[in-house]
């Protein structure tokens, strides 16, 4: 079968692309989690100015296309001698950070107020109770939507092809344009994405299982 032969023959270049897709996603999501946590805290800080800063950030991310954000980061950061890779990673992190901030905020606010009060009644400071009591429970609740956001980020990283990053999607379109046979390569790349998504879904559900021993 033709398609299968092509699939096998092109495996080396697609695997290279997959590695880059993987790196872009993992690094940007790790940064986005830190950014998201920070902005989630700003949003629940009850300090007006900090809340406004978080609101503006989230509004900007939601209100503009991701591809625009990536281009702004790309042109902005590469002019400061930052590499293409890091420009795209930071663009993706900026974007996902807003969604992850909302995930964390929701998770933290979903924890029963009695938990904070119980901690406080034992003499804990607000921040100690947040760290030891609220956050461990909130991260458990945040895990399913975080896993979901991770998968969105993985697929969104295909937009890095627009600025020439040789990740999965770019490999497919490049091969397609060389051979004038886009369909074959698009179907191949779809398989790679599905495998990646499946792989991460399994990891997320394994973590969920491990974290749910106390329920």
């Amino acid at each position: 079968m033709d398609w299968l032969t092509t699939f096998i023959d092109t495996a080396p270049i697609f695997l290279k692309g997959m590695l880059l897709t993987f790196q872009l996603t993992v690094v940007s999501v790790i940064i986005a989690i830190a950014v998201g946590l920070l902005f989630a805290f700003l949003k629940i800080s009850k300090i007006k100015i900090l809340e406004v800063i978080a609101d503006v950030y989230i509004f900007v991310v939601r209100g503009t296309p991701l591809v625009v954000q990536i281009f702004i980061f790309y042109f902005g950061l590469t002019s400061l001698n930052i590499s293409d890779f890091w420009a795209v990673v930071l663009g993706l992190a900026f974007h996902n950070g807003a969604y992850i901030a909302e995930i964390f905020r929701g998770a933290i606010q979903s924890i029963d107020k009695g938990q904070m009060e119980a901690g406080r009644s034992l003499g804990m400071t607000r921040s100690l109770a947040m760290r030891r009591i609220i956050l461990p429970q909130a991260s458990r609740r945040a895990l399913p939507p975080l896993g979901n956001q991770f998968i969105i980020a993985l697929k969104d990283s295909s937009l890095a092809s627009f600025i020439g990053m040789y990740e999965l999607f770019n490999v497919a379109t490049t091969q397609g344009s060389i051979s004038y046979d886009y369909m074959t390569y698009l179907l191949i790349v779809a398989v790679y994405y599905l495998v990646l998504v499946l792989f991460f879904s399994i990891i997320v559900s394994l973590i969920e299982k491990r974290m749910s021993i106390s329920d």
């Binding site: 029963d112 009644s121 034992l122 106390s214």
Partner: protein, 245 residues
């Protein structure tokens, strides 16, 4: 023997917006006193308890803990709360920690005591409330009565000078009320100072040194439980007792 004063409240007032919830509350609790607080829903019992450990901030009046007036703006309230234990109606155990970890949490991370010692004391406390066999179980696996006994052990682990109980048995199935009351009774017999919001008149009669009846944000009547429950002086107390008994 003169007993020292643990809590002294003078002219305490508290409002939530326009709602004046506590009105000129005066209350003195001495060492090893057991005080039962009764009153209709919304009369301000919980709010009073919560003011005593500063989960709620007073608007005016004074609160002294062990003869030291607490200024809620300048005092280290976390240090004050370490001395004032609190047990809630809905337990509020930490669901992500085992029973033993729940009890160890505050001595370990607030007082920063050595782990070996904390563990030993936590195990003793769990033995005292009859839950030694549940040490490594998560709260979700416990009955309501067991949860509340763990919550009591958790509060005791900080070695408080006074324990506040806010309707500790009213979320429990009737058959589980007894075990919690027994634990509280033992605590009272050991000389713990306690303020208990409760509708368990039997417990109040048996254990309390005196009872306080609150109505609409005021303390209407104070007396020995036997007298207050059987021969209340105030008409409002009488009406309330008629309605609950």
């Amino acid at each position: 023997m003169t007993k020292s004063i643990i809590v002294e409240v003078n002219k305490l007032n508290k409002s939530f917006g326009d709602l004046h919830v506590l009105k000129d509350i005066d209350l003195t609790v001495k060492e090893s006193d057991v005080v039962c607080l009764i009153g209709a829903s919304g009369s301000g019992k919980s709010t009073l308890l919560r003011c005593l450990n500063f989960l709620e901030m007073k608007d005016s009046g004074s609160i002294s803990i062990e003869s030291e007036e607490i200024d809620q703006h300048t005092h280290d309230l976390n240090a004050v709360r370490q001395k004032v234990g609190m047990v809630f109606q809905h337990f509020h155990l930490f669901p992500h920690k085992t029973v033993l970890e729940n009890v160890m949490e505050a001595p370990l991370h607030v007082k920063k005591q050595p782990k070996v010692q904390v563990k030993k004391e936590a195990q003793e406390l769990l033995k005292k409330v009859g839950l030694s066999d549940k040490e490594n179980v998560y709260p979700s696996k416990l009955s309501g009565g067991q949860k509340q006994r763990v919550a009591i052990a958790r509060a005791l682990a900080m070695k408080p000078d006074i324990m506040l109980f806010d309707e500790p048995t009213s979320a429990l199935d009737p058959e589980l009320v007894g075990e919690v009351l027994t634990t509280m009774k033992e605590l009272a017999e050991e000389g713990m100072t306690m303020v208990v919001v409760t509708h368990e008149m039997g417990f109040a009669k048996e254990v309390a040194d005196w009872a306080v009846y609150m109505h609409d944000g005021r303390i209407v009547e104070v007396g020995h439980p036997d007298e207050l429950f059987t021969a209340p002086k105030e008409e409002r107390t009488k009406n309330f007792l008629d309605s609950v008994l």
